[in-house]
């Protein structure tokens, strides 16, 4: 039992180490280092020996010294085997090994004897693995988007794996792609249009949604249940189904290629979500406040502006942020309704840019960074509001 658990523990931890080192090697390769193999066999042997040695040595040496010793041995051997790599690469390997030996330091021979110990170890390492794996898989495309926008076409053709950024160069050269898209491709204008459309959608949606949500939350009227269920059903309905009729109607009314047309469609598609989210919050406001207001002879307009809105600022701001993000990210309708480059939104402009096969990829990526940054910034900054809103059953996508 003990031997089996020991071997399993060493195997699991070794695979984890291999994973860590492989990710580091991929990232190093993308900085232009020529690393042509993962050397999995060698890392496997080292990892296995380190895990075993760790168990055998146990408490006899202080764990911090143990970690440093193991890491140094590994770095020395690894550096000796794969020569000519810069010092920062080896520092990285050392830190990874230090992290790894720290992680395994809590497992001992005694612990391995306990019931389910292998499952516990597997779970622990799977969690660690998952955290790193998902961080890598998710952040990698964003990282590549950012780095590509700072490269030049020629540099990428010479070595498609060298994404290192030369910070020594002139600011103008470094941000060249950004200067180009703003100067030659009118991205400044598209940012303005996108902002007008998104902020406009937020304002109109809130103007329509707050009274409607208040009525659904508080007042009794015929057709109330019908209204609240149809809101949910409409919310489920696909945008692609609306495209053709709206296109024909908008063409005949001359609303295509206009900001007004987009505003109407965006408002209509975000209204159901907004009403649904707001009415849930309005219901949680104590009724007594309104009853007092009615005694003071306040009209419904007064109740909404003087009581409901001030009390539900957090909910309203989270709805506003959501509607903003939906409108900013929207692509389908802007593709259908806009075909004049003078009225493009950012998303449509990037798609238009990519339609030309000659467009260098760094411009495309610079455009992508420009359209992504505001959304991610809003999301990270207001995360607390937004996450609770997300789970309230919102954001279509």
């Amino acid at each position: 039992m003990r031997t089996k658990n020991t071997i399993l523990f060493s195997l699991i931890s070794t695979f984890f180490l291999i994973f860590l080192i492989s990710i580091w090697k991929i990232l190093a390769t993308l900085q232009g280092l020529s690393i042509n193999s993962f050397n999995i066999e060698i890392i496997f042997i080292f990892g296995f020996l380190i895990s075993l040695a760790h168990l055998v040595i146990g408490d006899r040496i202080k764990s911090i010294y143990k970690s440093i010793i193991f890491s140094s041995i590994f770095v020395f051997c690894d550096g000796y085997l794969i020569q000519k790599l810069p010092i920062w690469y080896n520092v990285g390997v050392f830190l990874i090994l230090y992290f790894f030996t720290n992680k395994i330091s809590k497992y001992t021979f005694i612990g391995l004897k306990e019931e389910h110990s292998t499952q516990v170890i597997l779970f622990d390492f799977l969690t660690l693995f998952g955290i790193l794996f998902f961080s890598f898989v998710i952040l990698f495309p964003f990282y590549m988007m950012l780095v590509t926008s700072f490269k030049t076409q020629i540099a990428l053709l010479v070595n498609p794996l060298d994404f290192s950024i030369n910070f020594g160069q002139d600011i103008k050269d470094l941000f060249k792609s950004y200067f180009v898209i703003f100067k030659s491709y009118k991205f400044g204008k598209y940012i303005v249009i996108s902002t007008i459309v998104s902020v406009g959608t937020v304002i109109i949606t809130l103007l329509f949604a707050i009274p409607a949500a208040y009525a659904v939350a508080r007042l009794n009227f015929f057709g109330k249940t019908f209204l609240s269920t149809s809101i949910l059903i409409i919310y489920m309905f696909p945008a692609i189904v609306l495209v053709i009729p709206l296109y024909t109607i908008f063409s005949q009314l001359g609303l295509r290629n206009s900001i007004e047309g987009l505003l109407i469609v965006y408002t209509a598609t975000t209204l159901p979500v907004a009403i649904y989210m707001l009415q849930g919050y309005f219901k949680s406001i104590p009724k007594e406040l309104e009853e007092a207001a009615i005694l003071d002879k306040l009209s419904w307009f007064g109740i909404i502006t003087k009581i409901i809105i001030p009390l539900s600022i957090p909910a309203i701001s989270s709805v506003a942020l959501y509607v903003f993000m939906i409108a900013w990210n929207e692509f389908l309708f802007s593709l259908m309704f806009l075909d004049n480059p003078n009225s493009f939104t950012l998303s449509r402009a990037i798609q238009y840019l990519s339609g030309d096969a000659e467009t260098p990829r760094q411009y495309l990526m610079a455009g992508s960074v420009v359209v992504t940054l505001p959304v991610l910034f809003i999301f990270v900054y207001f995360e607390k509001y937004l996450v609770s809103g997300l789970t309230a059953g919102s954001v279509k996508g």
Binding site: P160, N220, F237, L246, I249, P272, S354
Partner: protein, 419 residues
Amino acid sequence: MNDTLENTEKKTAYILTLPAVLLVFSIILFPIFANIWISFKEVELKDIRIPEPRAKKIVKSISNEPTKIKILYKLRNSSLIQEIRDVTFQDNFPKNFEIENLDPRCTYKKQNLKCEFRNWPAKYKENFQVIFATNDGSKIDKKKLKTIKPKLDGKSDNILLNTNFTLKNFKKVLFENEFVDLLLTTFYYTFFGTVGSIVFGILTAQMVNQKFYGRTFMRSVLLFPYVAPVVALAYTWELLLDPNSGTLNSLLLNYQIIETPINLLGQKYIEINILGFDFKLRLALTTVIMFEIWRYFPLAFLFILARLQAIPKELYEAADVDGASPFQKFFNITLPQITAVISILFMIRFIWNFNKFEDVFLLTGGASGTRTLPINVYQQGFAISDIGMGSAVSIVIVVLLLMFMFFYFKLLGKRVDEN
């Protein structure tokens, strides 16, 4: 007293909800009915532009006669396929103007030239010329004349409003050989995308539910793909997967894992040999599904995480006392607690994935075996410019969705009854 109060409450409610309801109905519900109407018609993209009578006004001075002027109207029917009936024409002139050659179709009264041109067939063109002279001998200001624009009016059939119906579109959609393939592709895309995103959602939620350093940061990072704009993400993926100089292929070549680059988004099938059996995997479709899972598992993650955090700790403590292993805890406590969320997620994601257009459109444009029903709506309606066909495909989507919802709720209803 009570009655009036109730009445005012009702009235207020209607006033408050009316703007929102009207807007949503006109932009969302009306188009769905309009779709049914259009799907039974033979309409093409070029037909939907309403034919207009147009006139271009050209002012020409006549040499040696400064008090006279020639005005040329280039008249035409803007439509190439439809006629315009009862075209009327009006233009105004300064007070001192007298007309020299009055066309029999026109009258000139009070400085107003009015003509009745009757019917203009499709592609109709005419150069219509009038000559004016000033009655007080003063010179003519050409610029001023140009600023006055003629008014034209006419009646035409709006092809969308007539009552010629046909079943041709549906016949074409349903009985062409491609339909089964289209359905299957859509089904694979929807089903595997949904299941994949839920599986990854469970894994990540389970992971973030444990305590570790940087957990809140991890939670926001996991949501990045969901909140970032599709356009940016799709193009980034396209660059990563590009066969010629894409990062993924370059990396794989660099580590000698593959010998020739793989065109992940442009190749329909790939032969895979597993245990001596040859499989044909739909490569581009699989890649597109991967993108979809990558982009939408955060939603599943959030829902499941919220549910996991609501599971009482006592359940796990009791299981610990009984000596349950981590896997037993997961399968016997966690999973049963999240089945309800999973079934809701399955429905939401299934419906939304079924209608997903942008992702596939931006990644492959529907090429190499990734044509789903929503892509087909676009291709029929705008690439082939057959609006009627596009509408018919939309109707098929709606019907399939309604069927799915019906069976889903029936099944779910039964399960609730059993419990």
